[in-house]
Structure formats: C-alpha cells, structure tokens
C-alpha cells in the first residue's frame, strides 16, 4: 500500500518531466529552429496539441502529494518557497503565452521566459535538496529540457527546420553529459548515494543513445533522461517516506480514484498522440 503511493507519485512526476520537458524545450529552442515566422509557427504548432495534457501530469502529481503525503506537501512547498513560486509563475506565464502567441510575437517573451523560469525553478529545487551548487543544476535542467525539445522537433518537423533541430540537439548532448557526473560529485551528503549513481549512469547511457539514434527513438531516450533526475534526487535523499503519508482511511478512499483514472488518462493521451502522429515519415 505504501509503496503503491510512492511509486505512483514517482510515475506522475516522471511523466510530467518526460512530457512537459519537451514543451519547455520547444519554447526555449523554437526561435533558433525556425528562421522565419512560418517555420517558428510550425515548430510551436508541433508541440501545442500536447500542452494541456502534459501540464496536468504535474497537477495530478501535486494532487497525489497533497492527498497521500499531506505532511510532506506542506513541508516541501513551504520549505522551498522561492523555487516553487518561480516554477508556478513560469508555468502560468508559459501556459498563457502558448495560447496567445498567435495574437502577437511579443508573447514570445513570456513564452520563452516562462519556460526558462520553470527550468530554473526545478534546478534550484534539485540543488536545494541535494546540496549541490544551484547554478550547476539550473544549467543542467535547462540543458536537458532544451535537448528534449530538440529531439522532439527533430522528430516532428520536416525539412530544414527538422535538420536544424537535430543539429541543436546534438550540440546539447555533450553539455548534458558533463552535467550528470558533476551533479553526483558536487552533491552534499545524501541518504542513499547508490540511487543517485545508478540513475546518473542510466541518464548517461540514455544521452549517448540520443546521440547515436534519431527520430522517435532519440526522443524516447531524452524523455527518460528528462524524467529521471528530479524524482531521483528525491529518492536519493529519501524525502518521500511512509511517515509523511496520510492515514489508511484517506489512502483507501484515494485508491479507487487513482486506479480508475490513470488507465483512462493513458488511453486518451495516447489517442491524442495517435491523432496527430507524424505523417511525413
């Protein structure tokens, strides 16, 4: 029962980073991938069908955090006030700007700025939790999201823009590869260092995978590489424990909701991907 909720929370958080990661990455890169307004519009348009579905993974994760780990939720959010305020402010700006971008290019400012703020916020949070230097994690998360956005665009965009996205993504692999061991080596004392090392090795392998492959496979590699670091930081520091969990009365009530909803969301989100599947390939 306890491990069910810990695994569920981890999966929802990982799902959020894997999916929303390429949203933010696309926002960070699209002005470089597209040379003119038409190309930029297409680059963003490749991402926008998924935005709503991607962002709600975070909403669901925080919902589970609140319902199943109420004491952790209060402590975590209020204890990292600045990081979370940065994330949420960025998220709101990003979500609004995605909608409004068609209206005027000036909305590129909150679009890029919002995506950047979200990445910076997660970087600060991970650095806070592990005791590593904040700039390292900020650069690392921005780099990982951008790389993920790059492989997404390389996969989804036809023609020259796709080629440019591929080149950008490849140029980001090396900085990301340098970030991973640095994050492990410069971390402070950690409750379960073996988790951190294990995940770091996995992320390095995935990054190399993204380097040698292309298209959907490269995208999947960067998706998992994006998904792992932040949940791994919490696992390594043993933040999510049974003591912070709600009582059995609460958990019993939440189980049916989770068991019914998750398969439905997976099914319907898969249907969205299927409907806007790549046709030029």
């Amino acid at each position: 029962m306890e491990s069910f909720w810990i695994v569920l929370l981890g999966l929802l958080a990982a799902g959020y980073f894997a999916l929303a990661g390429f949203d933010y990455g696309t926002a960070l890169l699209f002005r470089f991938v597209g040379r003119d307004e038409r190309e930029r519009g297409r680059a963003l348009g490749a991402m926008t069908p998924f935005v709503l579905g991607d962002e709600v993974w975070l909403v669901a994760a925080v919902g589970v955090l609140f319902g199943a780990f109420p004491r952790l939720e209060g402590e975590l959010l209020s204890g990292h006030h600045g990081a979370f305020v940065t994330i949420v402010t960025g998220l709101v700006a990003f979500t609004a700007a995605v909608q409004l971008r068609g209206a005027a290019p000036v909305w590129d400012v909150p679009l890029v700025g919002g995506a950047l703020a979200v990445a910076v916020g997660w970087g600060v949070l991970a650095a806070d939790v592990t005791g590593a230097p904040a700039p390292l994690w900020i650069v690392g998360v921005v780099g990982l999201f951008s790389l993920h956005g790059g492989t997404f665009l390389a996969w989804r965009l036809p023609g020259r823009a796709g080629v440019r996205a591929r080149a950008l993504a490849r140029s980001l692999v090396l900085p990301c590869l340098l970030f991973v061991p640095a994050a492990v080596l410069l971390a402070g004392p950690v409750a379960r260092p073996e988790v951190g090392v294990g995940v770091a090795v996995a992320v390095v392998v995935l990054l190399l995978g993204a380097w040698v492959t292309s298209g959907r496979v490269a995208f999947c590699c960067t998706a998992i590489a994006c998904a792992l670091p932040v949940p791994a930081v919490f696992a390594a520091q043993d933040v999510v424990t049974a003591e912070t969990m709600a009582g059995t009365g609460t958990l019993a009530v939440l189980v049916p909701a989770a068991v019914v909803v998750l398969p439905l969301v997976l099914l319907f989100q898969w249907a969205t991907w299927w409907m806007v599947r790549v046709r030029h390939a």
Partner: protein, 388 residues
C-alpha cells in the same frame, strides 16, 4: 503587512480570479454541449457553427483558467502548510480526488475534443464534450466538499495532534456542501447564460447578418438563465439556515459583510426578473425589435461575476478567524515563511494573474466581437491547434 496578511491577501486575490474563470468555463461548456447535442441529433449546420464559435471562447477561457487552477493547488502547501500538516488527511482527500478524477481527466478529454474535430465520428466527439462537462462539474463538486469541510468539519477523528479521515460519506453529505454546490452550479449556468445573451445582443445591436445564429444563441442563453436563476436564489437562501445551525458566529460577521451580501442578493433577484420578463418577448424576436433591452443585456454581462465574488467573500471572510471552523485558526495554519518571501510570491502571482485576466478579456472579446467564421473558411477551434 505581516506574512499572515500577505498570505490572506494572496489567497483572496488568486481565488477570486480563479473563480471567475471557473464560472465561465462551467457555464459555457454546458451550453456548448447542449448545442453540439442539438447538431448531432438534427444535423442542422448552424448548430455546428454555434458549437464551434462558443466552443472557441470556452477553450481560451479554460486554457487560461487552468493556469490559475495550478496556482490554487500549489498555494495550500506554499502558504498554508499548517493546514496540510494538521488536516491534510481529510482536506487533502477531496482535493486529490478533484485533481485526479476531474482535472487530469477533464484536460485529457478536452485535448481530444479539440483535436478530434473532423477526425472523430460525430457521436464519439459528442461523447467527449459531455465527458468534459461531467468531469468539470465533478471538479467543482469535490472542491466544494473540501471547502465544506473547512466550514463545518465532519468525518474525522483527532489522533496524535492530527486529523484522520474516518468517513468520506459524511464529508460528501456535509450540509454546508449540498446547498452551496447547487448554488455554485446555478451561478455557473447563469454566468454562461448571461454571457451568451450579452454577446448575442451585441451582434444584434450591430445589425448582424447572422440573424439565425444569434437568435438561437440568445434563446438558449435566456432559457438557461431563466431556469438557473430561481435555483440560484433558492439555494442561496437555503444556506442561511445551514449557517445558522453550524456557523452561528458567521451571521454576526455577516453584519460587517453587508455590501457584498446585499449586492449579490440584488443581482440574483434582478436576473430572475429580467430573464422571466424576457422569455415571452422571445416570441417573434420582440426583444430584438424593441432594441433597448439589447443594451441592457450587454451591460448585464459583468453582473453575475460581481455577485459571485460577493458570494465567496461572504463564505470565506465569514469563516474567520477560523480556517477549519472551530478546530484551527487561520493564524495557526500560515507557513513559516518570511514577509519578503510572501510579498514576492504575492506580487508574482498577482502580476501574472493580472496578465492572465487581461489576456483572457482581450482574446475572448476579440473572438466574441468578430462573430462566427464564414462557413467556407473554418478556423481551428483553438489557437493550440493552429498547425493542423
């Protein structure tokens, strides 16, 4: 201002903004679902265009509203960690169900509805908008269950200094939930009805060529308002008895809340009268030919929004000094965050919310003013679908 005042000001601001989005979203999605049902059953082309036009406004409002909802969700942990620590087991359960069953599922259904235009079968696409509607109301219901617990805590026992959930049924059947939920649903339908009526009236004032389109819209709006407002007022009045029984202190606090309370009641009664007077005037478009009521209809758009803010002020300020009535004060629940941190978040959230509010206003009014697209050149139902 100390951190407590800042946290309260922040909560009041963000909740009010959020609720404005929620009301229009709930009201419009219902009307859009009704229009799409009409089209699916009859195949009348104008109903399809209506679904698309009002649906576009709805989607803009939803997607910007979701951003305000995310802030709401984080805010409890950010600024009110004492509530999570002490009552999170009970208060968090309905909120978690809300995010999972409603929020998560609703957005997924809506995404599919947006991209399913012309790709899915008629009936599958119709089923999606109803799934969105049902999950939207479920969302509102579970939020009211959580709020009802703060008003009148039930279904718990205290154990080792924290509350444990013992009876979800009691939480759901909480007397401070039932009437309030009906009230909120009726308010949302009223907002949706009045909005559709106002926008349609605007087009008649401008002597639109889309007479059939806006005549049907106006009728749906007036009928919805006429059905919803009596329930709205009745469910509002019914709450006085509940408050008298369970929150006797609130009535004395309400003495100091005269302005929001009376403006809400005045607007409610005025809308009942206006909608029922308009009903017979719908015959042979009398209300359109008289013209002056059209101007009143446009002016009426903000009224239910104003009233709903009044309603929340009465409900939430009236609960003070308690956060969980009789169990935990607002003061004890505030997070141990410094005044600077609280001020920064207050300014940041208020700033982005102001931008969201303006953006929503600009986008919605632009779509609304432009009117329905010509049948020959259909626009995507959402800016999120531009590339398709």
């Amino acid at each position: 201002m100390d951190p407590l005042d800042l946290a309260r000001a922040q909560f009041a601001t963000t909740t009010s903004f959020h609720f404005l989005f929620v009301l229009l979203t709930l009201g419009l999605v219902t009307l859009v679902a009704v229009m799409q049902t009409g089209f699916t059953l009859t195949g009348t082309p104008v109903l399809r265009r209506m679904t698309r036009f009002w649906g576009r406004i709805y989607v803009v409002n939803y997607a910007l509203g979701i951003a305000t909802g995310i802030v709401m969700e984080f805010q409890f942990g950010l600024n009110w960690s004492g509530l999570s620590t002490y009552a999170g087991d009970v208060f968090g359960a309905p909120l978690a169900i809300e995010t999972l069953v409603a929020f998560f599922l609703e957005s997924t259904f809506l995404g599919l509805w947006i991209f399913g235009w012309d790709r899915l079968g008629r009936w599958a696409h119709l089923a999606l908008i109803w799934a969105v509607t049902v999950t939207a109301y479920a969302s509102a219901f579970w939020v009211m269950v959580a709020n009802g617990f703060l008003q009148h805590p039930v279904g718990y026992r205290e154990q080792g200094g924290v509350l444990r959930l013992t009876d979800l049924g009691a939480l759901v059947a909480n007397p401070t939930v039932t009437a309030a939920f009906v009230h909120v649903v009726a308010a949302a339908l009223t907002v949706g009805g009045v909005f559709v009526v106002g926008v349609s009236a605007h087009h008649f004032i401008r002597r639109t060529a889309e007479v059939d389109f806006f005549r049907r819209s106006l009728r749906i709006g007036v009928v919805t308002t006429a059905i919803a407002t009596p329930f709205l007022v009745a469910a509002g009045v019914a709450q006085f008895k509940v408050i008298k029984t369970y929150q006797p202190d609130k009535l004395s606090v309400m003495g100091g809340l005269g302005a929001p309370l009376s403006s809400m009641m005045l607007i409610g009664v005025a809308l009942v009268l206006a909608s029922w007077v308009t009903l017979p005037l719908l015959a042979r478009d009398a209300v359109v030919r008289m013209r002056f009521p059209l101007h009143l209809m446009v002016l009426g758009i903000p009224l239910p929004f104003v009233a709903s803010i009044g309603g929340w002020v009465v409900r939430e300020v009236g609960r003070q000094p308690w956060l969980v009535y009789g169990l935990m004060t607002t003061e004890d629940a505030v997070s141990p965050v410094g005044a600077t941190g609280m001020l920064v978040s207050f300014l940041a959230f208020t700033g982005v919310f102001a931008v969201l509010g303006v953006a929503d206003w600009v986008l919605v009014s632009r779509i609304a003013r432009r009117g329905p697209e010509p049948e020959s050149a259909p626009q995507p139902v959402s800016a999120l679908a531009t590339a398709l």
